[in-house]
């Protein structure tokens, strides 16, 4: 059973998934950051593959991606870092990145390499679900990698069910109409959407992401889903840190209390 499935089997509430851009703030700090996140009790870490033109991302993750590319991050460097991370870290690790880099690497090669270094799941926001289903789904079954897809407030129930069928690991509920990092508080319309998804009786667990930034928003998200994903707020926290382990523990504590 995959690490993600095992996790959700043993824990189905208050799951905290933290996103960090690989190669940020400094090239090799990714390793330390993931190690400390595990120690601080985080359930899943999502490692971002910095892309030059990240369409779905807001200013914070854009800036961290640009910095990481300037720092010299590459796909092969990320795979090295994950290999190093996996020497000690046991929690599920997910790679999040844009399809062009995967395509350039070679889709089957990328999937196998990711699995080989110890990645459990992939999020590729600009890989449409129908293209995935027609061209790549069979590859994924063979190598036991979980593909995680997004749903949004505009996704119809019918489509959510279709996406649920094709997803493994969990469903990524994008909290609002937005790029990453755009919001402060969760509005009533968003709550209505979370409730709607909850009633659909889906096969996968679900995590809410985008605009989850603090204890309050995390708590609300956990009421309607199995947990939440925090990205931009964490990037902001580590961006100027002079003591990463301390910053990370404080940050995680501030969320979970």
């Amino acid at each position: 059973m995959s690490r993600l499935k095992t996790l959700f089997k043993h824990k189905n509430s208050n799951i905290l998934n933290i996103y960090i851009t690989a190669g940020f703030p400094a090239l090799n700090e990714t390793i330390l950051i993931v190690q400390e996140l595990e120690k601080a009790g985080v359930d899943i870490v999502e490692i971002g593959m910095p892309f030059s033109d990240p369409l779905a991302d807001g200013p914070t993750i854009q800036a961290s991606s640009q910095k990481a590319i300037e720092n010299g991050i590459t796909l092969s460097k990320i795979f090295e870092q994950v290999t190093e991370i996996r020497k000690t870290v046991q929690i599920p690790l997910i790679l999040m990145g844009y399809f062009n880099q995967v395509l350039k690497f070679g889709v089957p090669q990328f999937f196998s390499k990711a699995r080989e270094v110890g990645i459990d799941g992939l999020i590729i926001p600009d890989l449409p679900i129908d293209v995935y289903n027609n061209e790549y789904a069979s590859l994924v079954d063979e190598i036991d990698l979980d593909l995680i897809f997004l749903i949004t407030p505009q996704t119809s129930n019918k489509r959510i069910k279709m996406i649920d069928k094709l997803s493994n690991g969990f469903l990524y509920l994008v909290s609002s109409h937005s790029t990453t990092g755009s919001q402060q508080n969760l509005q009533t319309s968003q709550i209505e959407y979370f409730k709607r998804v909850k009633t659909l009786d889906l096969a996968n667990s679900s995590l809410i992401g985008f605009g989850i930034s603090n204890h309050d928003t995390f708590t609300v998200a956990c009421k309607y889903a199995n947990g939440a994903i925090i990205g931009s707020a964490f990037i902001n926290a580590v961006a100027n840190s002079t003591d990463l382990p301390a910053t990370i523990h404080q940050f995680v504590l501030s969320i979970t209390r």
């Binding site: 590459t74 062009n100 395509l103 926001p125 449409p128 119809s156 937005s178």
Partner: protein, 400 residues
């Protein structure tokens, strides 16, 4: 317009030209794109839409634009060169053909806010113009580098009532303006219509923009018939940024193998210099800004920042139609450097009394690069006029 709906040059219902195209969009845009696709194919069939579109093209844009026989240019190149005068449209470039069509779609979809990206500022001006005409709020994204080199168009957009948002990410040019426009759309999916400026982006945009630009080759056919007694030229030459003016100029000749389709990309300082926007020449297959196409990228799949003196050609991707025309061998894809384009602009000005846009000057530069027979009928698509480029021309007078 009537003909348009029957013309689907080798595009399938998922928006692929051969292996290129499709809709590689995040789920956040799925509903928008689905709505647009359905509404677009419904609306373009409607008679009242076609009437309004054609009326605006005639009575607002000023179509048909002339097909001018370039007497002195023809003498110099010992051939028969016609210029398709998109420079004479309202706002001064072919971009208006597309924005007139898309604003009518936006209106019929009940959208109250329009966003657009722009490089040279011609698409931004064309979008701001139709928004003023229809009383719709308009936001235009433009890279900081382009704002400096096409400042006259920034002033025009502002006078037209558009809000111009400066884009400071990446290369601060067209690709980055496009990223920001797409992000804006993700954040405003309900009330906002995105008027894309070229045959790029996710399906149905490439097909839609090509349809709206196809009026160019439709007119060329009719005009040649009158002037030369035949409906098609031997060669059509057009510049390619994203590829919309070329798509329009090629459109009705795509299935006629007797017509040589010649596209010209911005080579910048030269391909070997690395400072280039020659996407087809240097690019590889990838997925960028919503479609599978050829694009300039490095070994790690990062997009390479392009360079061209011409803001409208300074783009690392190209519309999927062009990737397909190149790959299938149907189109010939050439390049022209900054210097060659400048020289061609000064040449046309001196010989014909027409100051072309820097983008269009790249198409003219191809005249030196191809074999022209004395009997050939050659149409160069003069996609725009040079008013916006006067600062660059005055600095580069030495290329005369």
């Amino acid at each position: 317009m009537k003909k348009i709906k029957h013309m689907h040059y080798q595009i399938n219902d998922k928006g692929y030209y051969g292996e290129f195209g499709g809709a590689y969009i995040p789920e956040m845009l799925h509903a928008n794109i689905e709505e647009l696709r359905k509404q677009y194919f419904r609306i373009i069939e409607q008679e009242d839409f076609q009437e309004e579109y054609n009326d605006l093209l005639s009575n607002y844009v000023g179509r048909p634009t002339p097909l001018s026989y370039a007497r002195r240019l023809s003498a110099k190149y010992r051939s028969n060169i016609y210029l398709k005068r998109e420079d004479l449209t309202h706002t001064g470039a072919h971009k208006i053909n597309n924005t007139v069509g898309q604003i009518l779609i936006a209106k019929r979809m009940g959208k109250t806010r329009v966003i657009a990206e722009t490089g040279a500022g011609q698409h931004g001006v064309a979008a701001a113009t139709v928004c003023a005409l229809m009383g719709i709020k308009c936001v235009v994204y433009m890279g900081e580098v382009d704002i400096k080199r096409q400042s006259q168009n920034v002033t025009r957009m502002k006078m037209l009532g558009a809000e111009v948002r400066i884009v400071k990410s990446g290369s601060k040019t067209l690709k980055d303006a496009t990223n920001e426009a797409i992000r804006d759309w993700i954040n405003n999916p309900i009330d906002t219509y995105y008027i894309i400026g070229s045959v790029v982006g996710p399906h149905p945009y490439p097909e839609m923009v090509a349809n709206f630009q196809s009026v160019i080759s439709d007119e060329i056919q009719k005009q040649l018939k009158r002037m030369e007694g035949r409906e098609f030229p031997d060669k059509v030459i057009a510049c390619v940024g994203g590829g919309s003016n070329a798509a329009g100029a090629f459109y009705y000749f795509l299935d006629n193998k007797e017509v040589e389709l010649i596209a010209v990309e911005g080579e910048g300082l030269g391909i070997s210099s690395g400072k280039t926007a020659a996407t087809i020449r240097t690019g590889e297959e990838g997925v960028f800004q919503g479609s599978k196409t050829l694009l300039m990228q490095d070994q790690d799949g990062q997009i390479v920042e392009p360079y061209s003196i011409s803001a409208g050609l300074d783009y690392p991707g190209v519309g999927p139609l062009h990737a397909h025309l190149f790959k299938s061998g149907r189109g010939t894809y050439l390049v022209a450097t900054d210097k060659e384009a400048l020289a061609a602009a000064f040449e046309l000005t001196k010989l014909e009394g027409i100051i072309p846009a820097l983008e269009s000057a790249h198409a003219l530069a191809a005249l030196k690069k191809i074999v022209l027979l004395p009997d050939d009928i050659v149409v160069v698509n003069l996609s725009g006029r040079g008013d916006k480029d006067m600062e660059i021309y005055s600095k580069n007078g030495k290329y005369e």
